[in-house]
């Protein structure tokens, strides 16, 4: 390893090996189980859209009906396409409506009926996957035609709750210099066990992730990309109870990045750990195929724990996210591993410590598009001091060659950003880039920075060894990450975890893996 920190390659290899060992039992769990949301994602890939009069999506109605009669342990596909082949239903939606009315008796077909069901399922689910392939090709073509902005990509958030307000704000942000637009979701969407339908105009501190909202925003950003002559990326969240479904919708609607962390939902949303890991694997298989870059959420650990004391938990989580990501088929270029500038600025040498942490992550993951998050915890309401802190964050981003810069707002924690807050924030980034964008090239870390980086790596290896002794699920149950204890039989969504029966079949997984 030829980095500035002089990391021991054997230790780095050891850390990766420990992460793999910790993750493998979880992968086996995911390979032998399915979830209600994975099965609904299969139906979404097959093109089933819309909702009943109460707003409950047809994919939920149909999957629930199958669960009630045939069960989901063989997957939703065999019973559904058997019913389609043997019944008098012109399409999936008609079947879903009849099933919701209790008029369909599902069975798990065998023999010739099973062959027919498989053919039907592969054809229709295959169309959804072909749609993702087309979108991926279209993204490549647009980037080739226009231009791909240089890194770090400037990442800005919009979150009005109303998709029709978000669109002009997102376009304005792109014109002001944003390379990536993230639409924050409505509070609590991660705990909904269905994906709302249609264009939405009301959310709590964010806008619902829906297929139609995805489509509208991507179309608006395509327009502004052509206007600006550079491809503007769109980000949303594949997390929460509907992670697999949202991943499928994102692939078909050409979202470019998705927040998708292996443990975030467990720790911060109290979603069942087993449910999360199973959903996560499928969603990452989808992202891998769709060419979507995932963004992981390690920055969150530093908002609950101390950023110095817990620095190694970030590295451990990144190594786990890397293992799970690779296992699901993601390339290094699709691993937007997260970290953050959250050290208390009152600590002496806090900026040097930030440099050590950021450089360590850069050198551990040289080919990953690292996502670097600005200060939030120590933004006090003193907007003038906050603007200065954001400038130091920007400086650290450039000095350590981070890939995705989430633009810090001086009014963080006070209100959703004013138009002027965003403009000032971008002015800050532009100034630091123009004044010191090349500073990383002449920066040589001293012993203090090197020693700190080595210490964090040592602590990460130590924690991974402990996790291997206990098992990852036990470590999570004991509060290793983000100070919260999450037992593997607790949290939401465990009732949607289903052990696969012999003969379980998922047409999407067959195509994706």
């Amino acid at each position: 390893m030829t980095g500035k920190l002089g990391l021991d390659p054997a230790k780095v290899t050891r850390a990766r090996e420990l992460a793999r060992w910790a993750g493998e039992p979880i992968t086996r769990l995911a390979q032998t189980h399915t979830t209600s949301s994975i099965e609904r994602a299969v139906l979404r890939l097959a093109g089933l859209e819309g909702a009943d009069a109460d707003g409950m999506p047809w994919v939920n109605r149909l999957a629930d009906a199958v669960a009630d009669s045939a069960g989901l342990q063989h997957g939703v596909a065999l019973p559904v396409w058997d019913a389609l082949a043997t019944g008098d239903y012109p399409d999936l939606r008609s079947l879903a409506m009849a099933a919701a009315g209790g008029q369909v008796k599902f069975r798990v077909p065998d023999g010739a009926a099973a062959v027919a069901a498989r053919d039907g399922a592969l054809r229709e689910v295959g169309a959804g996957i072909a749609r993702m392939d087309e979108q991926r090709a279209l993204r490549s073509a647009m980037i080739a035609d226009l231009a791909d902005p240089p890194k770090p990509w400037i990442y800005l958030i919009v979150a009005t709750g109303d998709i029709y307000e978000d669109i002009p704000q997102a376009q304005a942000a792109a014109r002001e210099g944003a390379d990536i637009i993230a639409v924050i979701r409505s509070t609590g969407q991660s705990l909904l066990d269905y994906v709302p339908e249609g264009a939405t105009r009301e959310g709590y501190a964010g806008t619902y992730a829906t297929q139609e909202n995805f489509r509208l925003m991507r179309a608006a950003l395509d327009d502004v990309s052509r206007e600006l002559g550079r491809y503007v990326r769109l980000t949303n969240y594949a997390s929460g109870l509907c992670m697999p479904e949202i991943a499928a919708l994102a692939g078909m609607q050409r979202l470019d990045m998705m927040l998708n962390d292996c443990m975030y939902g467990i720790i911060f949303r109290d979603i069942n750990p087993v449910r999360t890991f199973i959903d996560q694997r499928f969603s990452r298989q989808v992202h891998a195929r769709a060419g979507i870059v995932i963004n992981t959420g390690e920055d969150n650990y530093l908002t609950t724990a101390d950023a110095v004391d817990a620095a190694h938990t970030v590295v451990v989580s990144q190594l786990l996210n890397e293992y799970f990501g690779h296992e699901a088929g993601l390339t290094d270029a699709q691993l937007g591993l997260g970290h953050a500038f959250e050290i208390n600025p009152a600590i002496p040498d806090s900026f040097l410590l930030e440099l050590a942490h950021a450089l360590l992550v850069r050198e551990l993951f040289p080919d990953a598009p690292l996502k670097y998050m600005p200060p939030t915890k120590h933004m006090t309401g003193n907007v003038f001091a906050g603007y200065l802190l954001d400038a130091f964050f920007n400086l650290c981003t450039f000095m350590t060659d981070q890939s995705i810069l989430l633009t810090g707002m001086m009014t963080e924690g006070i209100h959703t950003p004013f138009l002027s807050d965003r403009d000032l924030a971008l002015e800050n980034v532009r100034y630091v880039r123009s004044a010191a964008g090349r500073l990383g090239g002449s920066f040589v870390p001293d012993a203090f920075v090197r020693d700190r980086a080595h210490q964090v790596l040592d602590e990460a290896v130590g924690l991974l060894e402990r996790i291997n002794r206990e098992g990852l699920l036990t470590a999570i149950a004991e509060g290793t990450f983000g100070v919260t204890k999450r037992p593997s039989d607790g949290g939401r969504g465990l009732d949607g975890v289903i052990k696969q029966a012999d003969g379980y079949w998922n047409p999407a997984e067959e195509e994706l893996s």
Partner: protein, 248 residues
């Protein structure tokens, strides 16, 4: 101290203040800019800034302008008329809350939360309880000296009561968003009556956007929180309430 004061810039009584704001006016060319600055000065004058000065104008996109303005505030502050809304409990930082609970209880404070009845809107209870929190503040799960049991949505009152007893809850929190046919009031009354005979009776806390906070006594609960409540306020209240109970 004089009972009337003015803002202090660099001289007593100079009244100097600084404000910044954005107007939906273009400032791309010189004429637009001059017009926009005139508009900014008019606003500053109406805000009570005498002899205001626009020191910075910047076009934000094609349709907006951002200004930094200095001026002399023409208003006086009459100290005899200062009003401070009384709060029956002090807002404390997380570390102080943890310390107070440890001192008073000598163990963790147990909080059981739920959306009761048919209400499936867990946004409120999750914003208060989940580590993720709300409005830049971590939820109650974040407090080392609290143990949080979040029962989720559509929990029946008997189920809530038995779980609260089993967990030895110090506080029971319910969140109600649905207000059709006064469902939220009914839920609060049911909470009050269900726990009325419990011994020891946990603190009963109700939250939701449509409650009147002055109705706590009438509904038989200890505290009502309304729209915009942050986890830190609830945590501060709980720390204060257990201290008061211990002192009583």
């Amino acid at each position: 101290m004089s009972s009337v004061i003015r803002p202090y810039g660099d001289t007593t009584g100079d009244g100097r203040v600084q404000v910044s704001f954005t107007l939906p006016l273009p400032a791309v060319d010189a004429d637009q800019r001059a017009f926009a600055e005139g508009a900014a000065l008019q606003l500053a004058a109406k805000m009570g800034l005498d002899a205001a000065m626009v020191v910075h104008t910047k076009a934000v996109g094609p349709d907006f302008s951002f200004f930094v303005v200095y001026g002399r505030a023409s208003h006086l502050v009459d100290l005899s008329q200062v009003k401070v809304t009384p709060r029956e409990y002090p807002l404390l930082a997380a570390a102080e809350i943890n310390l107070r609970i440890r001192e008073v209880l000598g163990r963790k404070l147990v909080v059981v939360g739920a959306c009761t009845g048919t209400d499936a809107h867990t946004v409120g209870i999750d914003a208060i309880l989940n580590v993720k929190g709300h409005a830049g503040e971590k939820g109650l799960e974040y407090y080392r000296e609290m143990r949080v049991v979040n029962l989720g949505s559509q929990v029946s009152m008997p189920a809530l009561a038995s779980r609260a007893a089993a967990e030895h809850a110090d506080a029971v929190l319910i969140s109600q968003v649905v207000t059709q046919r006064d469902a939220h009031l009914e839920a609060a009354r049911e909470l009050g009556s269900t726990f009325a005979a419990a011994s020891p009776r946990p603190l009963l806390v109700v939250g939701g956007p449509r409650y009147d906070p002055s109705m706590a006594g009438e509904l038989g609960v200890d505290k009502i929180f309304t729209r915009g409540t942050t986890p830190g306020e609830v945590a501060s209240y709980l720390a204060h309430a257990v201290s008061s109970l211990a002192a009583a």
